[in-house]
Structures are given as C-alpha cells and as structure tokens.
C-alpha cells in the first residue's frame, strides 16, 4: 500500500508541438489536495494521465502505487469527474447515470440502489427524471458528481467541479467535497483556477503553471510568499484626494496614482494586511465616499506572476 494517492516522476506529455505537462514531479498524499492553475496550465492533462486515458511521452505516473495505463483494476478505483459539458442532453439524468453505471459493470439492482444513494447525496434526486438539456450548470455538476461516485471509488479526481455553478451550488458542492473525505474517507484531488475556492476545501495545494509545479504545500505558506511582494489595491469612489494624502504618510505604502479623473486610486503597498487593518479608520477620518475597493493582485495570475519571477 502506498502513502501517496498520486505520484508523478519527471512526467511529460505533449500534443504535437504543444507541451501539456513538462517534466512534472508531484506527490499527492491522502486527503483533499487542490490543484490550482490558470486555464491551459495542464490540470486536465494530469487527470487524463492519472485516469489512464492517455499515455505519457516521458516519465511515469502512479495512482495508488500503480501505473494506470491499461490498468482496469486501478481505473476501477478512480472516480473521475471531468471538466466536460456535453452530457447526453436528449437523455434524462437517470438514464445517463444508468449508462455510466453500466460502463462500470454495475448490475441493475445494485445500480438502481447506487443511483438513488448518490443522487440523494449530491442533491440531484429532485431533477433526475428531467431531460439533461433543461439542467442548469449547477445541476450538471451535481449529476457529474453522482456519476463519479456511482461505483464507490477510493480516490476522486474532480476537474473543475465548481465551474459554472451558482454561488449556493458552489457552497453546497464545497461542503460535499469536504464531507466525501471527512465522512466517507475518499481521497480527493480537485482542480480549479480559482484559488479561494480551493482554499475553502483544503489547505494542501499544488500550483501548476505551463505544465510545471511551481509551488506545493500548505496554502498559508504560499500566501506568505505572496504577501512578501507589494500588492496593488484599487480604491474607487469620491473625495479620495484627502485619503491619498494620509496614505502617503504610511510606511508600507510604496506608491500612489490616480486614474479616471481622480475617481480611482491605485495604492501599492508592501504589507497588505496592515493596509486593510488601517483603511477603515482612514476612510472615516477623511470622509471619503468609497464605492469599491479590491486588490488587483488577489487573483491567480498575479500569484503565478509572483512565483515565476516577480513579473506583473
């Protein structure tokens, strides 16, 4: 028995001239692990390699200690929820699940039981008899999750499971994914291009960019790494001139600039946490009328820019 759910050693996969995965080294432990990367980073390629759908050009990949390529035993222990929208629209959810369950070799009685169980678990039982073409994005995600769980896999690979779901569905799905590990002991590898979503599921993350792992470990360590770099914070509203004068006196403010006829102030700060702690009192003192305030760097691309060389 291996301690790792997934191991990749010097793994490379290319499609013609395009590199999907580039000499990737990775060890995913038991529990929930998030793979975070922008679109095109190689997340889906990792899942395809891990489910034995495609063969690596170089290196090796192991799932639960074995190579998944042509390995029915291992593939049968994986539940894969692909980032794939073309479900059988003309069919009902129930028929779709019957089809997927049959592909896993489940017999009718156990399949019926499994469909009832998993659809109830993911909250899909209410719309299972409707045609898939009438489903919202959130419903489709739930249906795909039910299909993933039908054969009770040991390990779950979830490729962008929250994509397109509405806020309530996202919240529910995040809770569900956490519970699949906490209560059902499934090991979960979940991908997203939204860091905050993954943060709500797990602290263990792997950041990939252009087919390579650029950071992995506890998310707080990665956050600290990011916080060492200056942040750009945008403040939009009226009467922000006075606020700018006060900000200039603060040690951690590196620069200030106005945009949009002085209705937008861009502040570059070294200690973002200190800034966010101080800003409410400054706003009160100056009477600034703030519509919106956000960090320009609190997005995944900025995180990657920091990590791959400090470029903005």
């Amino acid at each position: 028995m291996t301690d790792f759910v997934l191991e990749a050693n010097n793994l490379s996969k290319w499609y013609g001239d395009v590199i999907g995965i580039n000499s990737l080294n990775l060890k995913i432990p038991e529990g929930i692990t998030g793979i975070v990367g922008p679109n095109g980073a190689g997340k889906s390629t990792i899942f395809k390699l891990a489910t034995g759908m495609i063969k690596p050009n170089k290196g090796e990949i192991k799932v639960l200690g074995e190579n998944p390529w042509l390995n029915d035993k291992i593939i049968g222990r994986i539940g894969f929820c692909p980032d794939y929208e073309n479900l059988a629209d003309y069919s009902t959810g129930s028929r779709f699940l019957h089809y997927i369950g049959s592909l896993h070799g489940l017999k009718k009685e156990e399949l019926d039981e499994s469909i009832a169980r998993t659809s109830r678990l993911v909250g899909a039982d209410d719309f299972l008899n409707r045609k898939i073409e009438t489903y919202s994005k959130g419903m489709r995600q739930r249906l795909k999750l039910a299909a993933t769980l039908l054969h009770d896999p040991d390990v779950l690979f979830l490729d962008e499971p929250l994509s397109g779901a509405d806020p309530q569905a996202r919240k529910d799905l995040i809770e569900l994914i956490k519970n699949l590990h906490i209560e059902r002991k499934h090991d979960v590898l979940v991908s997203s291009h939204v860091l905050s979503e993954i943060e709500r599921m797990t602290n263990d993350i792997v950041l990939i960019h252009k087919g390579r792992v650029i950071a992995s470990g506890d998310i707080s360590e990665i956050r600290s790494l990011i916080d060492e770099h200056p942040h750009r914070i945008v403040i939009e509203g009226g009467k922000i001139d006075d606020l700018a004068k006060y900000l200039l006196d603060l040690k951690y403010v590196v620069s200030l600039s106005f945009e949009d006829n002085k209705r937008r102030l861009i502040v570059e700060v070294e200690k973002a946490d200190n800034f966010f702690k101080d800003i409410p009192s400054l706003i009160n003192r100056t009477g600034a009328d703030i519509f919106e305030m956000y960090s320009k760097d609190d997005n995944l691309q900025a995180v990657f820019n920091y990590l791959v060389g400090g470029k903005r």
């Binding site: 759908m53 042509l70 049968g76 994986i78 894969f80 692909p82 089809y99 678990l121 009770d152 209560e183």
Partner: protein, 282 residues
C-alpha cells in the same frame, strides 16, 4: 440542496473489468439510432423499394423448397429480379451504413466524449466492439431481418418435404445477412474517426464505395481481378462462398482474401491504432 450524509453507504461490488461492457455501448447506440428520424425514413424507403414486395409475395407464390437461387437472384419470386444480389439492396446498404456510421465516432471527437468512456475500466477494444455492435444491430434491420423473413415465409408455405434443406438455406441466409450488416462497417467507422463533421464522414463513406465501383468497372476490361476492387462484387463473391458456390475461375482467390482483409481487418486495425496509440482520446 440539502446534503444527505446519513444514507450514503459505500458500494462494495466488483470494481474490475466487466467482460460484456461493450454491449452497454452497443445497446445505447442501437437505442439512439432507432430513435432517429433519418434512420427510420431510410429504413422505410429501403423496405418499400427492396424488401416489401418480395416478403409480401412469398406466401402467395408457394415453392417446393427454399433455394439459394431464390434468395440471391430472386428466381421463382413474383418479381423475378435479383434479391440479395440486387443492386438496390447494395445501394441501400451503403447509404444506410454511411448514415449510421456518420457520427459514430465523429460525435465523440466533436464533443470530446472519449472521456466518458476511457476514464472508466474500458479498453479500446471494448469501445470499438461496442460501436460496431450497435451499428450491426441497426444494419441488421435492413440487411439480415428481411431476408430471414422472406426465407421463413417461403418455408412456411413450401409444398415439398425437404425442410432440412430449406432451414439450411435459411441459416446461410442469416449468415449472409449478418455479413452484409458488418462488411462495410469497419471502413465507415474508421472514416468517422477522421473528422468532427458527420456530413464529411457520411458522404465520404458513400462516395468511397461509389468511386471504387467505378474504378472497378473501368479496369476490369484490362484484368478481371479488378472486380475485387468493387465492394458490391466483393459482397456478391462472399455470398457465393457462403452458399457453397466457388469463386468464378477468372477471380484469384488469394486476391479475394486480401480484398476482404483490406475492407474489414485493415480499417479495424487502423482504427484501433488511432484510438489506442495516437491519442484520439487526448
């Protein structure tokens, strides 16, 4: 939504491969195709032009026994025109195979739905076998079922006592029908794996068979073995072999075997390689 945490119990069934899994794919294809209007229209027209008169007239035109001449050449039927060896039968067979297989793989490529299959314990062979099984089931509705009905109705009304001989011919007719259902499929399925557009795949399949017929006609003047290039001739020679007739003396039997392999085994092998090794799945 309401997450139910209590009732979810893990399934403890068998998680390894299931040998008849290809049949699940075949059944789905059959059900999808049988619900297609285009397939139904084609089947109705084909039945009217090829089968209906022969099936309907058989009981009213009793014969001593079922013969291969009746099934192949329509000898002794009300119409008297060739049946299995009739050109309309061949024509509708290649039209149907073109339509049935037009989206058989092209749709999976277009929608990238290989992931639905290959992220599960399913081999490339299972996938191809499933696609072929579903297609054969549909093709059989036109290529195998009607000749069997004709044979059965002739036996039911035959005047002679040689039922063994008649049932023997009925068995061979079933084999011939299944062969007709299958023989053009490998090439059509292969062509469907080259494109995302089902129109390209369908028209490409039909035109290939059509052009091969023309090429065969042109070059047969120089060498009679060129007849083997024509799918219709190849099919008719295969009928002869099934019904126990030797190939015509001017046809080289080795070339016949090679032609059959080129039409069936080679496309299947190429298809397997494309899906398995060249990453159509990726």
């Amino acid at each position: 939504m309401g997450i139910e945490r209590i009732e979810y119990k893990t399934w403890k069934g068998k998680k390894t491969s299931f040998s008849k899994r290809f049949f699940v794919i075949g059944e789905k294809i059959f059900l999808n195709k049988i619900n297609s209007k285009a397939i139904w229209i084609l089947l109705v027209i084909g039945y009217i032009l090829v089968h209906v008169f022969t099936i309907a007239s058989a009981p009213f035109y009793p014969r001593e026994e079922l013969t291969k001449e009746l099934i192949l050449d329509g000898r002794g039927t009300l119409i008297g025109a060739p049946y299995l060896k009739g050109y309309f039968f061949y024509l509708f067979t290649i039209i149907l195979v073109s339509v049935v297989c037009s989206d058989i793989l092209s749709q999976d490529i277009k929608e990238n739905s290989f992931v639905l299959y290959f992220s599960r314990p399913l081999r490339t062979v299972d996938y191809i076998a499933g696609k072929l099984t579903g297609s054969i089931m549909i093709m059989s509705l036109f290529c195998a079922l009607p000749p069997i009905l004709v044979g059965s109705s002739v036996i039911a009304t035959q005047t002679g006592n040689n039922y063994m001989g008649s049932f023997g011919i009925l068995g061979l007719t079933t084999i011939a029908g299944v062969l007709t259902s299958f023989i053009f499929l490998p090439y059509a399925v292969l062509l469907s794996s080259f494109t995302k557009r089902k129109a390209y795949s369908g028209i490409g399949t039909f035109m290939t068979f059509f052009v091969l017929d023309i090429i065969s006609d042109i070059f047969t003047n120089f060498n009679t073995n060129w007849r083997l290039v024509s799918p219709v001739n190849l099919l008719h020679y295969s009928y002869d072999i099934i019904y126990g007739t030797e190939l015509p003396a001017e046809i080289n039997s080795t070339l016949y075997v090679i032609a059959v392999i080129m039409l069936t085994i080679l496309p299947l092998f190429t298809l397997f390689i494309r899906i398995h090794l060249k990453g159509v799945k990726g």
